[in-house]
C-alpha cells in the first residue's frame, strides 16, 4: 500500500465512522411512525451515504400480515406496480451480503436487475430471515466497500429495531382500542337485561298488578338474570383460562350425549329465530376423554354463534364426524359468513367483539374464543371455514378419540325429578340486606322457615335459640368472613346437626376448596339457580327425614 492509498483508506474510514454516527440520529425520525414509514426513511437515508441505484425492502409490517415491499430507484420511490416485476426478478438472487458469492453465483457477472446488471447484496432486517430483508444494488465497481457494508448493516439493524418498536406500538394502540370497544360493549350488554328487570320491579309495585302479570314478568326477569349470569360466567372463564386456572373433570364421554345436552340447552334460542336444526349423528358411540360440562359449553357456544349470525329461518347442521383417531363436532349454518381476512381473528378475545358490534344481538362475542381454548385444553382444535360473506360458516371442533370401549363410557347423569321438600329451618347470613331478605322470602315461598341476619355475630348469637337445619352464608361479611363464621358455627356448642351452604360471588375452584375446608357442605355461586338451591334443600330434607 503506497502513501496515497493509505491516506485514502484512512479518509474512507473516517467518513465511514462519521456516516455511522449520522445514522444514529435516524431513529429520532421514527417516533410515532408506522413500520412502513420507518423502513422508507431508512432507505432514503442510506442513499445519502452509499451510492445506490436501487433498494428493495420486503418485510412483514405487522405480525401475521403478508410481506410488504417497496422499491426506490435512483433516489425516488418506484411505481408500486413495479414490485411484482422486481420480486420475480429477485426470486433467484442469492440472499447474501457477500458480493463475491453473489457474483460467483452469476458466473462472474453482476446480477441482472430490471434496471440493468448491478452489484447486489441482501441484508436481513433483524437477526433472522423472518423479519424481512433489504436488497441494495449499485453500479459502483467496488460496491460494497467495507465502509458501505458497515453503513448498510447499521441502517438495516436500526430499521429492524424501529420496525419492531412500531409493531409493538401498533399492538398497544390496537389493544387499547379493542379494550375500550369491549368495555363499551360490556356496558351495553349488562344494561340491556336491566331494563326489563327494572320495569318488572316497577310493575310489581304498581297498584292493580295481577297474579298473571307477576308470573309473566317474573319469568322475564328470571330469563334476563340467566342471561346476565352467562355473561359474567363467560368473563370469569376468560380470566380463568388466561390464568390457566381451569381444571377439567375428565371422564370417558360419548359425544352424542354431549351433543344432546347442548341441543337441549340451545333449543330455545334456535326456535326463537325459527331456525331448522339438522342432526347428523353416527349410530355407534364416539368416545372421548373430556369434561362433560366444558364440552357441552363448547357446542352450546358454537350453536349460539350459528344462531346469532344466521338470519331468521336459517338452517343449522350439527354433525359428528368420527375417524379412527379423532372425533369432530361440526356446526354449519346458512348465515352471513365470514370474510377471509377475519377467519384468523375471530378466535381472539377482543377481535370477536369488533365483529359483534355490527349486530344488536351480538353478546360479548367471547364464545368462540372460549370454545377454542376449551377445545385446546382437551387436546383438540377448533377451526372455522367460510366461503365468504353471504355463504355461511362451518366450525369444527376435533378431539382425540379415546381408546376406551364405547360401552365403558358411563351414561351421563340425568337430572333427577325433585322430591317433595319437607320444611327446613334456614338461617340466612348476608350483609347485603336486599339479597338476604329476598333469599329469605324465596325460602319461605318454598315452604321453609327462614331467619335472616346481616352480621356474622348476630348469627353466632341467635344460632342456638333458632337451631337451624341449614346455614346459608355469604362469604364477604363484615368483621369475620364466611369461612371463619362457618368454623365458629361448627365449634359452637349446643347446636343440633346442621348443614352449611356457601352462597357467594367468589366462584373459582380455589374458593370452593376454601369453603369445603372451612366446613361448608355445599358451595353455590351467586346468582344461584333456584332449581339448584331447591335440589340441595330437597336432599338435605330427605336425609333429615331418614335420620328421624
Amino acid at each position: 500500500m503506497n502513501a496515497d492509498t493509505a491516506i485514502a483508506a484512512q479518509e474512507d474510514n473516517g467518513r465511514g465512522i462519521r456516516d455511522l454516527m449520522g445514522l444514529l440520529a435516524l431513529p429520532a425520525l421514527w417516533l410515532g411512525k408506522d413500520g412502513r414509514t420507518v423502513l422508507r426513511l431508512m432507505a432514503q437515508a442510506v442513499e445519502r451515504l452509499v451510492p445506490l441505484r436501487f433498494s428493495m425492502v420486503e418485510a412483514h409490517i405487522l405480525a401475521g400480515d403478508a410481506a410488504d415491499a417497496f422499491i426506490r430507484i435512483d433516489g425516488a420511490d418506484a411505481d408500486p406496480d413495479a414490485v411484482v416485476h422486481w420480486r420475480a426478478a429477485s426470486a433467484h438472487w442469492p440472499k447474501t451480503a457477500n458480493i463475491a458469492a453473489n457474483i460467483a453465483a452469476n458466473n462472474g457477472e453482476p446480477t441482472p436487475t430490471p434496471i440493468g446488471p448491478l452489484r447486489v447484496i441482501r441484508l436481513e432486517l433483524g437477526v433472522s430471515m423472518l423479519g424481512g430483508g433489504a436488497w441494495f444494488g449499485s453500479d459502483a465497481p467496488d460496491f460494497p466497500t467495507f465502509t458501505q457494508l458497515a453503513v448498510l448493516r447499521a441502517a438495516a439493524s436500526l430499521a429492524a429495531t424501529g420496525l419492531q418498536g412500531a409493531r409493538l406500538e401498533h399492538e398497544r394502540a390496537e389493544g387499547d382500542r379493542l379494550k375500550d370497544q369491549f368495555l363499551a360493549m360490556l356496558g351495553h350488554e349488562l344494561r340491556n337485561p336491566l331494563a326489563p328487570i327494572r320495569a318488572g320491579a316497577a310493575l310489581w309495585q304498581a297498584q292493580g298488578v295481577t297474579p298473571d302479570q307477576i308470573r309473566s314478568t317474573g319469568a322475564i326477569m328470571e330469563r334476563q338474570v340467566q342471561h346476565m349470569t352467562h355473561l359474567v360466567d363467560d368473563l370469569l372463564d376468560v380470566s380463568r383460562l388466561s390464568a390457566g386456572a381451569v381444571v377439567l373433570d375428565t371422564i370417558p364421554l360419548d359425544l352424542r350425549e354431549v351433543v344432546e345436552l347442548a341441543v337441549e340447552q340451545s333449543r330455545a334460542q334456535i326456535d326463537g329465530k325459527r331456525h331448522t336444526l339438522l342432526l347428523d349423528l353416527p349410530e355407534g358411540a364416539c368416545t372421548v376423554l373430556g369434561d362433560c360440562k366444558r364440552l357441552v359449553q363448547i357446542v352450546v357456544n358454537l350453536l349460539a354463534n350459528a344462531v346469532r349470525y344466521t338470519p331468521p329461518g336459517g338452517r343449522l347442521t350439527l354433525s359428528i364426524r368420527a375417524t379412527p383417531t379423532t372425533v369432530g363436532i361440526a356446526v354449519e349454518d346458512t348465515g352471513i359468513g365470514i370474510e377471509q381476512a377475519m377467519l384468523g381473528k375471530i378466535f381472539e378475545w377482543f377481535t370477536q367483539v369488533e365483529r359483534s358490534t355490527e349486530r344488536s344481538d351480538a353478546g360479548l362475542g367471547l364464545g368462540l374464543a372460549l370454545a377454542r381454548r376449551l377445545a385446546a385444553l382437551h387436546g383438540g382444535t377448533l377451526h372455522a371455514a367460510s366461503r365468504g360473506l353471504g355463504h355461511g360458516s362451518e366450525f369444527e371442533v376435533v378431539l382425540p378419540r379415546a381408546q376406551v370401549a364405547p360401552d365403558a363410557a358411563p351414561a351421563l347423569p340425568k337430572e333427577a325429578a325433585p322430591a317433595a321438600s319437607p320444611s327446613l329451618k334456614v338461617m340466612v347470613v348476608d350483609d347485603n340486606q336486599d339479597a338476604g331478605i329476598t333469599i329469605g322470602m324465596l325460602l319461605e315461598a318454598l315452604g321453609h322457615t327462614a331467619r335472616v341476619v346481616h352480621h356474622p355475630y348476630a348469627a353466632l348469637e341467635l344460632a342456638a335459640s333458632f337451631q337451624p337445619d341449614v346455614f346459608l352464608l355469604d362469604i364477604g361479611l363484615p368483621g369475620i368472613d364466611g369461612y371463619e363464621l362457618a368454623r365458629r358455627l361448627r365449634a359452637l356448642p349446643g347446636l343440633d346437626p346442621f348443614r352449611m351452604i356457601a352462597l357467594t360471588g367468589f366462584g373459582q375452584s380455589r374458593d370452593q376448596r376454601n369453603a369445603f375446608d372451612a366446613g361448608f357442605d355445599f358451595h353455590c355461586t351467586k346468582p344461584v339457580d333456584i332449581a339448584v338451591l331447591d335440589g340441595i334443600f330437597s336432599g338435605i330434607a330427605g336425609q333429615k327425614a331418614l335420620l328421624s
Partner: protein, 205 residues
C-alpha cells in the same frame, strides 16, 4: 462574555439544527434559551411562520418573557418568513439571506446588544418555495458567517416533515444537533467546503 446555553448545554459552536416532534416540545426546549438572552440583556431575533406569529408571542409570554416590553426596546424582534427568508415574490434567495444574516449578526447588529440569538422556523422549506432547493447550500455556507460573527442560530425543523435523506443532509450541515431535547456535537457534520462540493456534484449528476 455572557453564558450561551441551550437545553442545559454550553454552546461552543453557533449553528444548531433542532428537530422537534411538536410545538409543545419545541417551546419547552427553546424557551429557556430565549429567556436566558432576555435576562442577560441580549437580543432574540425570531423568524416564524406567519400563521404562528400570535401563538409564538403567547408562548414566549408563558415562558416568562415580557413580550411587549422586549419588542418595544428591541430585545425581541419577531419577523415572519416573508420578512427574512422569502422575498416579495415569495422566493428564497440563498445569497440574499446569507448577506442578511451576516449583516444582522455582524456590522448591522443593533448597538447595545452584546449578542443576537437567531431562531428560524424552517417549515417554509417544505412549502414548494422557489429557490428552496438551495437550502442545503445555505445551511452549509451560513456556518462560516455565524462562526465569523460568533452569533448563535437555531434552525428548527419539524420531524414529521423530514425524509430520511433530508435529515442526513441537514445533519451534515450543522455542527450541533438538538434531537429529543438533547444538544450534541455532531460527529456527522461535514465541513462546508466538502459539503458544497458534494451538493454541486449531485446537481451535475
Amino acid at each position: 462574555m455572557n453564558r450561551l446555553s441551550l437545553a442545559g448545554t454550553e454552546l461552543n459552536y453557533f449553528h444548531v439544527c433542532a428537530f422537534f416532534d411538536s410545538r409543545d416540545e419545541e417551546y419547552a426546549v427553546l424557551s429557556p434559551f430565549f429567556k436566558e438572552a432576555v435576562d442577560q440583556g441580549e437580543k432574540n431575533l425570531h423568524i416564524v411562520n406567519p400563521e404562528h406569529s400570535a401563538d409564538h408571542r403567547q408562548r414566549l409570554g408563558q415562558a416568562g418573557i415580557d413580550v411587549p416590553h422586549c419588542e418595544s426596546c428591541g430585545q425581541l424582534e419577531v419577523l415572519e418568513w416573508q420578512q427574512a427568508y422569502l422575498d416579495e415574490t415569495g422566493s428564497f434567495s440563498k445569497d440574499k439571506m446569507l448577506a442578511a444574516v451576516d449583516h444582522l449578526t455582524g456590522a448591522g447588529r443593533d448597538a447595545g446588544f452584546e449578542r443576537v440569538r437567531i431562531m428560524g422556523d424552517m417549515g417554509w422549506v417544505f412549502n414548494d418555495i422557489p429557490g428552496a432547493a438551495d437550502i442545503l447550500e445555505y445551511e452549509a455556507e451560513v456556518n462560516d458567517v455565524l462562526a465569523r460573527n460568533r452569533q448563535p442560530a437555531v434552525c428548527v425543523y419539524d420531524i414529521a416533515k423530514l425524509s430520511g435523506a433530508m435529515m442526513m443532509d441537514l445533519l451534515r450541515t450543522h455542527p450541533l444537533t438538538l434531537v429529543g431535547g438533547v444538544v450534541q456535537e455532531n460527529p456527522f457534520y461535514t465541513p462546508p467546503r466538502e459539503m458544497l462540493e458534494e451538493l454541486r456534484a449531485r446537481k451535475q449528476a
